[in-house]
Symmetry: C2
């Protein structure tokens, strides 16, 4: 049975980390909120699933995954579940835990990206917190992007199976998520991320390599890939790129 | 062999979620950075372990746990690892995943608490971002605390084994972490959290219950429990409590 991915239909957002894993593995899935009402899909179907009173494991927020009777929220938890099922993580507990740890650090970075344009409150418009966003984005560009990239660079350097992947010698969901972080930062902070990538050549190489993965490349070229836009997590506001 | 917990010695911070699990289980552990230099402990020992060039799994930041050859960073990943070993999570994959999902949502809440006093940049002093903090804290008090509490309340309501625990009929690390979130919010936002708890009586009851757990109560009364303070994640700045 196809996996059901539930996420907002007009942005990549956090759902994209799950989508990339499903796409890279060639797994059958339905992108529920992007489907049509006639087929019982669409945003209303997602909201219904999220608010179902009989659901013992209610998701806090999208994205969430439904696999038969299993309902899982939190991007990193979804990938923890999907990883072994999609062949996107090693078999040992040590590899699974390390891959998950990388994913959690990627999730931290993504949350910080969100806060560069919404440092004061999610429910306020960007226009109402631009000055604060400029201060926060400067700190993010100067302190955080280099720190995150340097750490991933050191992880790649130390991988005994080679620097082509974060964990072991095969593609994992952490590789896909690092690709997406680099891709998103390249959209939102083109100048700052170009500078930072110059000091993290292995991260840059991994990003380029994932983009060429056969199924990932096909996905990125397809209409299933939503374009980056200013409603998502990665937003291009030139004033935030210094 | 005793677990090694590595975390900053003067704050509860994120290390406290791990400490509570180890204490509740009565597990032997060394709080490395709080130990003495004579015994090869202290902050310098923690920093050395974190920066060890031969380490294949370098932690991004404290807390991290060392268990023999295993090194794990990220609070939620540490608890994912410790949970089954300490008997603080159910045995099925479904229960472990659900408990972890709860933990990830708790981690999101904790990150938001941090940003109430540091909305602009972690490296700037609170005094240099107080105005922004006041705006962010208002949104956190009015929108986020009620939302998080309402969700945990609904999780407790829906637990088929009863509302005494988040998952199943026994104490899990998620219960301990929810206790700590409520405890911390009660310190940092006494007025706002009192109001929010009135609408989440099951959360309030779980918090009170965990505080009475024999080993937890002994720990909380011991010098091992660091007092809340204004260097940690939960800080009492009255202007942020409205």
């Amino acid at each position: 049975m196809a996996y059901q991915l539930h996420y907002w239909p007009d942005i990549q957002g956090r759902g994209e980390f799950v989508r990339l894993a499903l796409e890279a593995a060639g797994a059958p899935y339905v992108d529920v909120a992007r489907g049509s009402k006639d087929q019982g899909q669409g945003v209303a179907a997602m909201v219904r699933a999220m608010q179902e009173p009989a659901q013992q494991h209610p998701p806090f927020a999208p994205p969430f995954l439904i696999d038969g009777k299993v309902v899982i929220g939190q991007t990193a938890a979804i990938l923890l579940y999907l990883g072994p099922r999609l062949g996107l993580v090693g078999k040992s507990e040590a590899k699974q835990l390390w891959t998950h740890q990388l994913q959690l650090t990627l999730a931290d970075a993504v949350a910080e990206v969100h806060d560069t344009h919404h440092p004061l409150a999610t429910h306020l418009h960007y226009e109402d917190q631009t000055a604060a966003a400029i201060t926060r984005a400067k700190a993010f560009r100067e302190q955080r992007i280099p720190k995150f990239f340097a750490w991933f660079e050191s992880v790649l350097t130390r991988n005994p199976a080679g620097a082509g992947h974060l964990v072991g010698a095969r593609l994992s969901y952490a590789d896909l998520s690092l690709f997406q972080l680099v891709e998103g930062l390249g959209y939102a902070f083109p100048k700052a991320s170009r500078r930072a990538l110059r000091r993290a050549p292995l991260v840059a190489r991994l990003h380029a390599g994932v983009a060429q993965h056969r199924r990932v490349a096909a996905y990125l070229a397809s209409p299933r890939r939503i374009a980056f836009n200013e409603d998502g997590i990665f937003r291009r506001y030139p004033e935030l790129d210094g």
